[in-house]
Symmetry: C2
Subunit: 455 residues, 2 copies
């Protein structure tokens, strides 16, 4: 990989400028008004895959946003890596909390600042450039197929049908995804566990219209108060979730497993300081590392109701709403948990209101194996470029499609992420270290090398 | 009052058209962007007071919106009525729930539909037209002074300083206000009790920024969940408020008083049907009529936090906020209750968050006497035009300035309202019956007549 590495070294500025062009496209999949930008981002990546020397590049249509496809088959007797990434990003609001505008990327303090800088444009683009570098220098040691989707941030609902439809076309030996983080720049890791997700929207309706809180207050249910009471009751005083059957399928780790998990470097005081927290809060009898990885959660992601403008309005509102999500752990099932939640939420509603529950997307929790050639190749590649053997890591986020790759394509995944927990994914001021972006581009070719050699 | 009544009968259309002109001005005091409309409404009323034949009409400046003043002194040995009204209105949002636009008044089903149709432009304008009718026909039997303010819906914070400053100018014998409702069109009533108000805004802050709910969920306090828990804890299972000391000053009514209060016609099934409620909800051991009149409340008027746009965003937000108000009853004090709330709310906050509490305006609960000449004159006037002796009534709303008239000017108030509870004050589709508007204009002159005769 010598020529490849020296090519990377001499093209760093160009790689970064190209990523900036991609980051300037506000491809927010959750909001219809960005629809044309979503398409623009897909077209941009297709063009870059072609420029990288990939073949049969196309925008493959789905019922939602297109999936960018490209391949380079050098020898059908060699193994094939299927790279997955996504070009859509989370909404950037609240915009006023960004130090620099979310879709005007900039380098500051050795970091790239923009929505999608890490999740997942930055990490996806590492692969595009690593593949280009290997193809251009004739050092690609095995076959590669790339799919980059545009609906990851809204639940990837069209990916499974796509995988089913193109099972033959997507035939491969392993899936490689960079959409996770490492423990630290001096403590690389490969993610082996991910939480799943159930995401629902609830609406509590009291009266048929907004009422004067003086005339009716005290006699008529206030949907905001009721919603608050219902949400509050979802956890008990130990922050244990009260939904009937919620913990039924949760895999409890052994004492040894929990001990191993807690070995990773973690300083609670630094964690609190970095987040400017007065204190952490979570399920009793579990550590912070456990709470964010092997334990399920319920969080309100958004709430609204009544008068939220300037000043005071004495209204008793007709309704109140919330977006509520649960992070799931093996062996919980997203659909089952969503149904348990809906049943529970309707059951705890007082007679004085009516409740609507709508399910958004979900995703299954995942454990990826460490005893595969692909995992060993990834670990060896990281050891090569970082000079440190990476740790296996558990992450709290969800990549629902990992389960789909396994069930539909029969493929194991390597979660080869180069981000950090401090990259502010989904938050204002998302960022991605230049170190991480370049280290990713340098490390990926070694994965191909070792994977081809060891297969 | 014969000439006056016949003048009213022949000018009904003009009176209504003028009110429509006033209703077209969106004088929303809570929102700065309507500032120029607020002034426009004041100027409109000043012009109409002059046209009505009043003297010394002017816009009197305050630190906020101006107060419209006018007077007609016919004989300094006769008693003086001080009329109070307000020309500002509540915000009209949510606009999409209005059948016809809030600032385009229209008559439909014998009712005037517009923001302010009743509260308080419609009711205030009855006085302007009644006074005009008496002056024009030379039948005004005593002196009258009018003040119409523009900050009632945001707490009347500049009215008390105004009353103090112009104590001499505002010298009178009784205050007459139409800003309340009657029990029904065939059951007229005069309000003798009003609830007070404490209104606060709270903010719960967790982390210093929005977080990814997957990466941090379960280990870091979610300010929305925490706010919900705090709000839920404000009432116990009997809907009794848990704030320490909250009920300390509440005047408990005697069994006889409660019995009398519950004598007024009230049909719970019709009430539920009219509001499309599945059930009522309120403090245990009190009737609906009691819950909305002689018992204090706590209601969330607005709540917001996290992602409230389209679709799903897996954010663990940095903060959540709510507007919370309490309706107070005699002898609770607004300032004391606001302080008790703030202390309590900070005390119940978990260590994992910080809490800010800001007080908006408040107002004192009121009981007006029934044993005065003014009350008897008002009752006799209603009996004259309705053919029915009015009942004394308790209302759930607040008119904080009634207490100010008593403490600053030493004046008792007659709450001479002609609205109905179904007028949708503060709600979309506010309306005011043509019957009520005209009946008010006809009844008011008789009040002057009997008040002058009985004084």
């Amino acid at each position: 990989m010598e020529k490849t590495q020296s090519f990377i070294a001499s093209n760093k500025n160009r790689f970064l400028n190209e990523l900036f062009d991609l980051l300037r496209i506000p491809s927010v999949s959750a909001d219809k008004k960005f629809k044309s930008d979503v398409i623009k981002a897909a077209e941009f990546l297709a063009q870059k895959l072609m420029a990288a020397g990939m073949d049969n590049v196309e925008l493959m249509q789905t019922e939602g946003n297109p999936i960018v496809y490209g391949e380079k088959i050098i020898d059908t007797t060699k193994p094939t890596v299927l790279v997955y990434g996504h070009y859509d990003v989370q909404p950037a609001d609240p915009y006023d909390l960004w130090v620099s505008p979310p879709f005007e990327p900039i380098v500051r303090d050795e970091k790239i600042w923009a929505r999608g800088a890490c999740d997942d444009k930055g990490q996806t683009y590492m692969h595009v450039k690593a593949i280009e570098s290997m193809i251009v220098n004739d050092e690609l040691p095995c076959n590669v197929k790339v799919i980059i989707e545009g609906e990851e941030e809204v639940g990837s609902s069209n990916l499974s049908p796509f995988l089913k439809k193109y099972k033959e076309k997507l035939k491969a030996d392993v899936v490689l995804i960079s959409d996770t983080s490492m423990i630290a720049n001096d403590c690389p890791s490969i993610t082996v566990g991910l939480r799943g997700l159930s995401y629902l929207e609830v609406e509590v309706v009291g009266c048929n219209r907004d009422l004067h809180s003086g005339v009716y207050g005290g006699a008529v249910a206030n949907p905001i108060n009721v919603l608050c009471e219902m949400i509050a009751s979802l956890k008990d005083e130990n922050k244990h979730i009260t939904i009937a059957g919620f913990y039924e399928d949760v895999r409890e780790l052994s004492a040894d497993e929990r001990k191993a998990l807690n070995l990773r470097p973690f300083n609670l005081e630094e964690y609190k300081k970095e987040l400017k927290l007065t204190d952490v809060e979570g399920e009793k009898d579990f550590t912070t590392l456990e709470r964010v990885s092997i334990r399920p959660t319920v969080d309100v992601n958004g709430i609204w109701g009544g008068y939220i403008g300037e000043g005071a309005k004495t209204v008793l509102p007709a309704k109140a709403s919330a977006k509520i999500s649960m992070r799931l752990v093996p062996n919980q099932q997203s659909q089952k948990i969503s149904e348990l939640f809906a049943t529970h939420f309707k059951k705890i509603a007082p007679k004085s209101v009516t409740v609507k529950v709508t399910a958004h997307h979900g995703g299954e929790p995942v454990i990826t194996p460490t005893d595969t050639v692909a995992y060993r190749a990834a670990a060896k590649a990281m050891e090569k470029t970082f000079g440190i053997v990476p740790l296996p890591g558990y992450e709290g986020g969800s990549i629902p499609i990992v389960a789909s790759f396994e069930t539909i394509l029969g493929l194991k995944t390597v979660l080869f992420g180069f981000g950090l927990d401090t990259d502010a994914l989904h938050s204002p001021n998302e960022n991605y270290g230049l170190f991480n972006f370049y280290k990713g581009i340098e490390t990926i070719p070694y994965f191909y090398k070792y994977y081809a050699e060891m297969s």
